[in-house]
């Protein structure tokens, strides 16, 4: 079967390690290789988001064929449905979804703080209501690490508080301090077989970003994420959050900018030293007919494509571009 051909291409590695392969002389951009339990990942890397264990509108074999070696799963969604215990019973998320590449699970922090069903935020954790059946649940750092261990991802994230935007400095300090406390507790509770990433917060405040970056760097985690971005602050402040954090982060760790972004954002962040990204944008836009191409974003439903029998993107090697025309694409 085709799929087995592709999954053979993923080599399993025993050690979690990050190698910097080359550096750009004019910017902070670098090429690296991140060794994970389900094979090596070349960086900079964009990770497609498989919210509930399936990247929308794309099958696992299509992802493998496109060359993806790592995808993302949402802890919050998988915890609520089908449930981490069921996934564990199935043999873990890789087996459940039949994906032998790597998986990164987020901590659920972004979801429980951004969606409007928080019951109570305390020092210990967050009580929230399920969007599935309205039942109450609590996420603590220990609980979130237990869930991510059951899911069996290759990279797990610390439980953090993602402050909204705009955010008063007073609250941003509180959320950051809570994030730091939770990062320590997450790290202590983490499964040693999984790569563990801490998350820098600090909202749009330069001193807080610096302080948070220093603290997270001190934990000596396998990788470091910059969180609390892409929450409405705009591109300029997002890049500032990166610039304010980077000088305080060790060069030798992979850096992950969470929830970003457009192709332009990726380039702007790569030149600022970022190695990893995730975003629902390409799949969400694609489902609505908006496609990223070598020549920019296009809306394939636009009348000008009605009789365009050339590929959507002549430079692209993907299935759609190699087999179908722009005129046919809206019918697929």
């Amino acid at each position: 079967m085709l799929y087995h051909y592709y999954i053979k291409k993923f080599e399993e590695t025993a050690e979690i390690r990050f190698d910097i392969l080359s550096k750009n002389s004019e910017t902070l951009a670098r090429r690296g290789r991140l060794y994970l339990p389900h094979g090596a990942v070349e960086t900079p890397v964009f990770m497609p988001v498989g919210t509930q264990g399936t990247v929308k509108a794309t099958s696992q074999e299509e992802l493998a064929e496109m060359g993806f070696k790592i995808i993302l799963g949402n802890t919050y969604h998988l915890y609520l449905r089908p449930g981490h215990e069921l996934v564990k019973k199935a043999g873990g998320l890789h087996k459940f979804i039949s994906w032998n590449g790597n998986i990164l699970t987020d901590s659920g922090g972004f979801q429980v703080f951004s969606l409007e069903h928080i019951r109570k935020i305390g020092e210990d954790g967050v009580v929230f209501r399920s969007y599935v059946d309205g039942s109450y649940h609590e996420f603590t750092p220990e609980r979130v690490m237990e869930i991510q261990s059951a899911l069996g991802a290759d990279i797990v994230m610390a439980f953090d508080e993602c402050a909204p935007y705009p955010c008063e400095k007073e609250y941003a300090i509180k959320a950051m301090q809570r994030t730091h406390e939770w990062a320590k507790r997450s790290q202590e509770a983490a499964d040693p077989n999984q790569a563990f990433f801490g998350i820098v917060q600090g909202s749009v405040y330069e001193d807080l970003r610096a302080q948070s970056a220093e603290f997270i760097a001190s934990l000596d985690t396998d990788g470091i994420a910059i969180g609390g971005v892409s929450v409405g602050e705009g591109k300029e402040l997002m890049m500032k959050a990166v610039e304010w954090s980077m000088p305080h982060l060790p060069e030798d760790k992979p850096k992950y900018l969470m929830g970003v972004g457009t192709p332009e954002d990726l380039i702007d962040a790569v030149i600022r030293g970022i190695d990893m990204f995730d975003c629902v944008l390409p799949t969400r836009l694609g489902r609505n007919g908006s496609l990223y191409t070598t020549y920019g974003r296009i809306n394939i439903k636009n009348n000008k494509y009605t009789d365009d029998f050339s590929p959507v993107d002549p430079e692209c090697e993907c299935w759609c571009c190699k087999n179908y025309s722009a005129a046919y694409a809206p019918f697929i």
Copy 2:
């Protein structure tokens, strides 16, 4: 590329021919082989329906992998969008949708008569309104054959009047006579490079079905369809329509029961001598979580599959059954 591997399996044949390979001694069931411009099709055959040039929820390469050698396209839908002239400009329907197996296009008769936007039925044809933009269009036998020629299908169907159910005998006679007149005109207008099938009508009346079968048989078409079934008459009357028609149809032609049906319907019709089928049922049901399996129809969203880590159908060789569990299937 994978797809090119599969399309190579379709061998092109020059001659349109139907061979009966073996006959069942106790029933009218037979195995046959229908040679068409895009390769040979083993019969009995079920043809998946690709209304607008794409079988819903299934890609062309998946269809090829499952072994389908012929799919159906709806003339009515393709005529309205993207338009037969555009498809012709794209190099025909095969090239437009990147499918190198065979294609059968219906005549649009079923749609224009069953959907509620008929303007006027006359001896010459039917005026109807577009569901896309409300504009007026006319289908005549000549026009429908011209459209099917532009689409470039391997099998084209005569333009017929599909009478509704229930239907007074007086009207059933009128519709049948119109169908016969239109069958002759369709045959005269047909492109000789395409296989042409006549359609038997006659509603639920034994004498009309016999009369219609005799007439259509006299046209000596490449194949013969039994139409006007699966319109609400129920299974018993549907099988009667087959039984009343069959004795008047030549054994050596492929027989096609239009718009049928459930797996049980297929078997019941095969033993009555039917060779070809089409139906939206499997894809429509599948999109709603209802799946046909070796052990009957199941609803994959049923709670009992929540922790069922075995395949949806252990006897099935398809992608889903070979790679995913029943528990995961609802997430795909």
